[in-house]
C-alpha cells in the first residue's frame, strides 16, 4: 500500500515529518518498505525559459539555446529537441543534477564543439511520463526559477507500507491515519460524509439471490454524468499509490478503495438489461474480465449478473463489457459486502488477484456501506455531474457488534509489560474499541481480525511500544546444561565431521530432481503437482543424482578432483530416510614429481570411505558382508552392498555405470556410495561410558603367512573370513597381502596374526593352528601353494 504524505494528512491532523510518520508506522506494526521523495529526485531541476534558439554550427539536428533559469545569468545549452524554441518555458537541469531516468550527472561539456551548461528535459528523462518526442512545455506564465518539484506539486513524499493480512482496515489511507492517531502522532480528522439528494427512485431492480456469498448489495443509479479525466489532485494521489488514472468514474471507485479500503464497482447502465443481482454462477458460464481474459465460472462462485449475462466476478474483477467508458452517461453503482471465504476460494480457484479481492477476502468494514455509497456518489456528482437515484439496499451486511471479555492483567502475563488499566482503556478507545466498566470490550466493525483477548494485548503493547517490554530471563535449570541431541543427531554429526576430516567436501543439493534423473535411480515416490520447473519435479530417491550434477558442473569449471558428500533425506512413500551420499571423481592424486601420472579413483576408494563413515556411525564394520545388488546405476562388476545379515543393507558403493555417467555427462572413472544411516542398528546402551575391560597381552603376537591357490571365482573376503574363523581363540587378525592370477588360477596370500595368551606357542601349537587354517581354507577349494 502506497500513500503520499499529503493524502495521509487529509485524514490526520499532524505536523509530523515523513520520517516521524515512518518511524511511528514501524513501531505500531505497519512496516514501512520505502519512502520515495520525488522532490529529492528532482533536486536541481527548475522552471526555465528559452530566451534564444539558434542552429548549431556543426549539427543539423541540434540547436544552441540561451536559457534563463531565473538567476539573471542566462546559460548556453545545446539541445536536440525539435520543439525547443525561443519563448518556450520548460524544465532545466542544472550542472550537478542527476537525471532520474538514467542516473546521469549533468556536467558542463562541449557538444560538437559548442559549450553546453545543463539540459532541457523531456518527461521521460524526469520519469514523469513516456513522452520523449520533445522537451517539456509548461504554461508560458510558469514561474521561472522555481524548483520544478514545487511548481509541479511533486514535493509530496510517498510512503510504501506493507500491510499484514490481518489488517484490512489499513488497506485504506484513513485506517492508517487512525492507527497513527492512536499512537499519538496526531488527531484523526472527522470523516465528512455529505448527504446526497436522491432525485428519483432507482430505476433498476437490485437484489441478492446469494445471501451467503453476498449478504448485502447496495446500489443506486446516477444518470446524466459526463465521464472524462479525473482532476489533477486525484490523479496525483492515484499515481502515488501506483494506480494508473483511467477516467473519472473508474478513478473515483479506485480512489475510494484506496482512501477507505472500500472497493466498489461502477457499471455503464446502458450495457445492463433488466434486474441486476448477486447470484451463484452457473456451470458453464464464462465472463471476460477487465484484464481481457476469459474465466470459466462454477456454482461455487458468486457473480453480479443481469437478466442476460454475468458482468462481474463478484468482489474480484469487473467484466470487460459493462465497465464505464468515455461515452457512459448513466451509471449503476455497486457497493456490496461479499463473504471473505467465498472471495478467497473463488480467487484461488481462478488464480486471479486484484486490489478488490485482497480487501474483500480480508473482510471489509460491514458497517461502511452507506457511507461508501454516499462518498462515491458525491464524488461522481462533483466531478462528472448528473443526478442520483435513491439507494437500494438489498440484503443486510453482518454488522452485529462483537464483544470480548478482557482482563487487563493479561497484558502483563502474556505481553510481559505492566500497563496501567486506564492507559489500556485509553489505547483501546483511541483505536475505536468500546470498553465498559466491566472490561467488556466491543470490537469496532472494521477490525474483523480481533477474536480473542490476546489480540487486545497485542493492540495495547504495539501502541505502548514493544521496545518497552522488559527483557526477562527464561528460567534455567541449575548446573551445567544437559545434552540434548538424539542418538541419530549425534551419529549425523560424527559422520559429517569424519567425512570432512577424510577430505570430502559437504554439499547441499536440491531435494527435488528432474524426472529422468529420479528414474535413473529407480524412480521417485513423490512428484510435485506444481513444480517450479521440470528440473525440480520429483522428490529424490537418491542423494547421488544431485551430487553427480554438482560434480558435472565442477568438472565443467575445470575442477581436477571432486570429492563431495551430502547428508540428507531420501523421500519414499513410507517416509524420509537419512542418508549419506558421496561422489569421488577426477584425479584421486594429481600427477606429481614423485608419483608420476595422476591416479584415478576406483571402487576400493569408495569402499574405504564407506567403511570409515560406517565405523564413525557406530556400525559393526567387522561383521559386515560384501554382497551384490548395489543397483543398476552402478557398474555390475565393480559395485557391492555392505550388509548386516543377508537383508539389512547399510551401504552400497562402487564405480558408476558407464550409462549413468553418460547420462550425467561425466567422463572418466566416477565412484559413488550411499550409506543408509537409518538402517544402522542403534548402539545398545547399558554400561554408560564404561568400556569393556582390557589389558594389553604380555606376550608378543606372532605372524604367519599362508599362500593359497583358490578357484578364480572365490571372493577374497570369504577366504579371509574362513581363515579368521579357523581358530578364534588364537587368530586375532587375517589380511590379504598378495594377490595374483596365473594360468587361470588365483593366488591369495594371507597374513595371519596369532595372539598367545598364557604362554608362548610351541612348535606343536603353531602346527595345530596352521592345520586348522589350511583345513578351513580347503573347504572353499583353496590349497596351499607349493
Amino acid at each position: 500500500m502506497k500513500l503520499s504524505l499529503s493524502w495521509l494528512k487529509s485524514h490526520l491532523e499532524t505536523d509530523a515529518t515523513v520520517q516521524q510518520v515512518a518511524d511511528c508506522l514501524n513501531r505500531i506494526g505497519l512496516e514501512v518498505e520505502g519512502i520515495d521523495n520525488p522532490a529529492e529526485r528532482l533536486a536541481g531541476f527548475t522552471v526555465a525559459r528559452v530566451l534564444t534558439a539558434a542552429p548549431h554550427p556543426q549539427a543539423d539536428k541540434l540547436q544552441v539555446l540561451t536559457v534563463d533559469a531565473g538567476d539573471g545569468n542566462p546559460l548556453q545549452v545545446v539541445c536536440g529537441a525539435p520543439n525547443a524554441r525561443a519563448g518556450l518555458v520548460g524544465v532545466f537541469g542544472t550542472e550537478g543534477a542527476t537525471v532520474p531516468a538514467n542516473g546521469m550527472v549533468l556536467r558542463k561539456t562541449a557538444i560538437r564543439g559548442v559549450e553546453s551548461n545543463g539540459m532541457m528535459c523531456s518527461s521521460r528523462e524526469l520519469e514523469l511520463g513516456d513522452d520523449h518526442d520533445g522537451i517539456i512545455e509548461l504554461a508560458a506564465d510558469a514561474p521561472v526559477g522555481t524548483a520544478f518539484a514545487d511548481f509541479a506539486g511533486l514535493d509530496d513524499p510517498v510512503i510504501e507500507v506493507a500491510i499484514t493480512p490481518n489488517r484490512q482496515d489499513c488497506m485504506g489511507v484513513r485506517g492508517i491515519a487512525r492507527d497513527l492517531a492512536a499512537a499519538g502522532l496526531g488527531t484523526l480528522k472527522p470523516l465528512a460524509v455529505p448527504p446526497v439528494a436522491a432525485r428519483f427512485p432507482c430505476p433498476t431492480e437490485i437484489r441478492t439471490d446469494d445471501p451467503e456469498g453476498c449478504p448485502a448489495f447496495y446500489g443506486r443509479v446516477i444518470r446524466g454524468v459526463r465521464n472524462g479525466a479525473s482532476p489533477a489532485w486525484m490523479q496525483a494521489r492515484l499515481k502515488a499509490a501506483g494506480q494508473r488514472p483511467i477516467s473519472a468514474l473508474v478513478d473515483i471507485t479506485n480512489y475510494v478503495m484506496l482512501d477507505h479500503g472500500r472497493p466498489s464497482h461502477a457499471y455503464d447502465l446502458a450495457t445492463l438489461k433488466g434486474a441486476v443481482m448477486a447470484r451463484r454462477a452457473r456451470g458453464g458460464e464464462t465472463v471476460t474480465a477487465l484484464n481481457g481474459k476469459e474465466y470459466a465460472l462454477n456454482a461455487d462462485m458468486t457473480v453480479i449478473a443481469d437478466d442476460s449475462a454475468v458482468h462481474d466476478i463478484a468482489g474480484i474483477m469487473g467484466g470487460e463489457h459493462s465497465g464505464c467508458s468515455d461515452t457512459t452517461t448513466d451509471v449503476l453503482l455497486e457497493v456490496a459486502y461479499f463473504s471473505p471465504e467465498r472471495i478467497a476460494r473463488t480467487g484461488q480457484a481462478l488464480a486471479l488477484t486484484s486490489d478488490a479481492r485482497s480487501r474483500f477476502e480480508r473482510g471489509v468494514d460491514p458497517a461502511f456501506l452507506d457511507d461508501a455509497v454516499e462518498l462515491i456518489t458525491a464524488l461522481i456528482l462533483d466531478l462528472c455531474g448528473g443526478e442520483a437515484s435513491e439507494v437500494v439496499r438489498a440484503g443486510c451486511p453482518p454488522v452485529e457488534a462483537r464483544t470480548l471479555s478482557y482482563d487487563p492483567a493479561l497484558c502483563a502475563s502474556l505481553g510481559g509489560i505492566d500497563v496501567p488499566a486506564e492507559r489500556q482503556r485509553a489505547i483501546l478507545e483511541s483505536l475505536g474499541f468500546g470498553v465498559d466498566s466491566n472490561w467488556a470490550v466491543t470490537i469496532p466493525s472494521w477490525r474483523r481480525d480481533i477474536d480473542g483477548p490476546a489480540d487486545l494485548v497485542e493492540e495495547v503493547v504495539r501502541i505502548v511500544g514493544l521496545d518497552h517490554i522488559p527483557s526477562t530471563p527464561l528460567p534455567r535449570v541449575d548446573g551445567v546444561a544437559k545434552p540434548t541431541a538424539t542418538p541419530m543427531q549425534t551419529v549425523e554429526r560424527k559422520v559429517r565431521r569424519t567425512a570432512a576430516a577424510r577430505g570430502l567436501q559437504e554439499a547441499v543439493t536440491w531435494s527435488f530432481l528432474p524426472e529422468r534423473e529420479a528414474d535413473a535411480f529407480g524412480g521417485g515416490a513423490w512428484t510435485l503437482a506444481n513444480p517450479i520447473s521440470e528440473d525440480m519435479k520429483v522428490m529424490r530417491p537418491t542423494l547421488l543424482a544431485g551430487l553427480l550434477s554438482a560434480t558435472q558442473r565442477n568438472m565443467d569449471r575445470g575442477a581436477a578432483s571432486v570429492r563431495l558428500f551430502e547428508i540428507g533425506r531420501r523421500y519414499f512413500a513410507d517416509g524420509e530416510r537419512l542418508t549419506v551420499g558421496l561422489v569421488l571423481a577426477g584425479d584421486k592424486a594429481p600427477r606429481g614429481w614423485a608419483s608420476g601420472k595422476a591416479a584415478k579413483f576406483d571402487a576400493y576408494d569408495a569402499k574405504a570411505e564407506v567403511l570409515a563413515l560406517l565405523a564413525a556411525a557406530g556400525a559393526p564394520v567387522e561383521n559386515l558382508q560384501v554382497m551384490g545388488d548395489a543397483g543398476a546405476h552402478l557398474h555390475p562388476g565393480q559395485s557391492a552392498t555392505l550388509r548386516l545379515g543377508p537383508k539389512t543393507v547399510l551401504a552400497s558403493f562402487g564405480a558408476l555405470h558407464p550409462a549413468t555417467a553418460k547420462a550425467f555427462d561425466l567422463d572418466g572413472p566416477v565412484v559413488v556410495a550411499e550409506i543408509y544411516l537409518d538402517a544402522i542398528p542403534a548402539k545398545r546402551g547399558g554400561s554408560g561410558f564404561m568400556r569393556s575391560a582390557y589389558t594389553p597381552p604380555p606376550l608378543q603376537a606372532v605372524k604367519r603367512d599362508f599362500a593359497f591357490l583358490v578357484p578364480s571365482t572365490l571372493a577374497a573376503g570369504d577366504l579371509v573370513r574362513a581363515v579368521k574363523g579357523a581358530d578364534k581363540a588364537n587368530i586375532v587378525a587375517a589380511r590379504i597381502f598378495d594377490r595374483f592370477e596365473k594360468d587361470g588360477q588365483l593366488s591369495l596370500a594371507v597374513e595371519v596374526t596369532l595372539q598367545p595368551t598364557e604362554k608362548s606357542y610351541a612348535e606343536a601349537d603353531l602346527k595345530a593352528i596352521s592345520d586348522a587354517v589350511v583345513a578351513a581354507a580347503a573347504k572353499l577349494g583353496a590349497s596351499l601353494r607349493g
Binding site: 502475563s413 497485542e458 527464561l474 563431495l564
Partner: protein, 384 residues
C-alpha cells in the same frame, strides 16, 4: 725409554737394538696411519701392525723370550707402542668414518622446496556448521533439537497453525503440493488432506506439542520449501524454529531469549534488537525482530544500530494452536520464533549469494566451508 745407555753389557746392546726397532716402527706405523685415506687402508695398517702376523704383535711375542729384567725394561716400551698405534688407528678410523658419513649425507641431499604429498582438504557446509552452532547455543538454554517430515500434510503445515484454507496468509506461502498418490500407499493428514512440502519449520511445533508433555523447549532446524526463485530466493532453504511452552511464559521471555541467542551467535555484546508488531496466524501477539547493523568496509555487520534488518518472526503461540494440539491454553502458554539458517550464515560469515549454497562448487565450499575440527563449543566460542 732412554734408560739404557751406551757401554752397557750385550743384553743392553740387544736392548738398544730393540729400542731402535721400536722407534722406527712407531714412526713408520704412525706415518702409515696418517697416510691411510680409507677405511680399507686403515684396516690394512691395523692388520700389518696389530694383526696376528703384525709387526707390533711380533715384538709382543718377543717379550716371552726375554729375561725378566729385559722384559721389565722392554715390556712397557712395546706395550706403549701398541697402545699408541691402537689409539692412532681408532682416531683415524673415526675421522675416516665421519668423512664417509659426511660424503654420504652430502650425496643424500634433497630439494625440500619440492612439494610434499598433499592430503585432500574436506569441509563442512556453512548450513551444517551454523545448525551445529545453534544447537550448541540453545542446548545451554535447555532446548532440545526436534525434527519432523519435510513432506507434510495440510493439517500440520497450515490448519493446526490457525491457517484455514481461505486464509490470506496461505497466499504468502507459495506452497509446493504433491501430486496424489494411490490410496493407502502414502501417509496423509489426519483428515486425509493432500500432502505438500512444508513451507516452514512450524509444523514441528505441532508435532512436538502433540507428542510430548509440556514444559517444552525445542529448536527445529531443517529444509523448507517455497515456490519462489530469484536472485535472493531459492525454492529450498533452511529455517530454524524455536518453541517454548510452559507456565507463565510471556513476551519478555521471548525478547530475552532472542537477545541472548543472537548475542551468543554473533559473539557480540552490542547486538541490539528492534521488535515490531507483526502478524502470523499462529502467534498472538506477533513480533517481527530487526537486528541492528553497522557498515564496515561497505558490508553490513551485525552489531550497532546504523540500520536495521529483519531477521526473525516470532510471537506468543496462539491459543487456538495450543488447543489444536490438545493442550489447555489456560494452563500452558509460550512463544515461538523462526528464522532462516542460510540467512544467519550469510550475516555472520559474509556470503552474499544464497544460490551458491546449493550449487556444490568445490571452490566455494573450500572457501566458505569449515574445517572438520571446527566443532562449535561454548568454551571455545561457537563461531569459527
Amino acid at each position: 725409554m732412554g734408560v739404557g745407555g751406551v757401554g752397557r753389557s750385550r743384553p743392553f746392546a740387544y736392548g738398544a737394538q730393540v729400542m731402535n726397532d721400536i722407534d722406527s716402527l712407531r714412526s713408520e706405523t704412525l706415518g702409515a696411519i696418517a697416510a691411510a685415506d680409507s677405511l680399507d687402508a686403515i684396516e690394512a695398517v691395523r692388520v700389518a701392525a696389530l694383526g696376528k702376523q703384525g709387526s707390533i704383535s711380533a715384538l709382543l711375542k718377543m717379550l716371552g723370550g726375554m729375561s725378566p729384567e729385559e722384559r721389565q725394561v722392554q715390556g712397557p716400551l712395546i706395550n706403549g707402542l701398541r697402545e699408541a698405534v691402537s689409539d692412532a688407528i681408532t682416531a683415524r678410523k673415526a675421522a675416516l668414518e665421519s668423512q664417509v658419513l659426511e660424503a654420504r649425507l652430502a650425496s643424500e641431499r634433497i630439494d625440500l622446496s619440492l612439494p610434499a604429498p598433499e592430503a585432500p582438504r574436506g569441509s563442512v557446509h556453512p548450513v551444517s556448521q551454523v545448525m551445529d552452532e545453534l544447537a550448541e547455543i540453545f542446548a545451554d538454554m535447555g532446548f532440545a533439537v526436534a525434527e519432523g517430515p519435510e513432506i507434510e500434510d495440510d493439517w500440520h503445515n497450515f490448519s493446526a497453525l490457525n491457517i484455514p484454507e481461505t486464509h490470506p496468509a496461505r497466499a504468502m506461502h507459495d506452497t509446493f503440493y504433491m501430486a496424489p498418490r494411490p490410496a493407502g500407499e502414502a501417509p496423509s493428514g489426519p483428515e486425509g488432506q493432500r500432502m505438500l512440502l512444508r513451507t516452514h519449520t512450524s509444523p514441528v511445533q505441532i508435532r512436538t506439542m502433540t507428542s510430548q508433555e509440556p514444559p517444552i523447549r525445542i529448536i527445529a532446524p531443517g529444509r523448507v520449501y517455497r515456490s519462489d526463485s530469484d536472485a535472493t530466493h531459492t525454492p529450498m532453504f533452511h529455517q530454524i524454529e524455536g518453541l517454548v511452552i510452559d507456565r507463565g511464559i510471556h513476551l519478555g521471555h521471548l525478547k530475552w531469549t532472542l537477545e541472548t541467542f543472537l548475542r551468543a551467535f554473533f559473539e557480540r555484546d552490542d547486538v541490539t534488537l528492534r521488535l515490531r508488531p507483526s502478524y502470523f496466524p499462529f502467534t498472538e501477539p506477533s513480533v517481527e525482530v530487526d537486528v541492528g547493523y553497522s557498515i564496515v568496509n561497505g558490508k553490513r555487520v551485525i552489531g550497532g544500530s546504523e540500520g536495521w534488518m529483519e531477521v526473525l518472526g516470532s510471537g506468543m503461540v496462539h491459543r487456538r494452536v495450543i488447543e489444536a494440539c490438545g493442550l489447555d491454553p489456560d494452563e500452558w502458554q509460550g512463544f515461538a520464533f523462526g528464522t532462516g539458517v542460510d540467512r544467519l550464515a550469510m550475516l555472520k560469515y559474509g556470503m552474499d549469494d544464497l544460490r551458491a549454497f546449493f550449487d556444490g562448487d568445490v571452490r566455494w565450499l573450500a572457501h566458505y566451508g569449515f574445517d572438520a575440527l571446527d566443532v562449535p563449543t561454548l568454551s571455545g566460542g561457537v563461531g569459527a
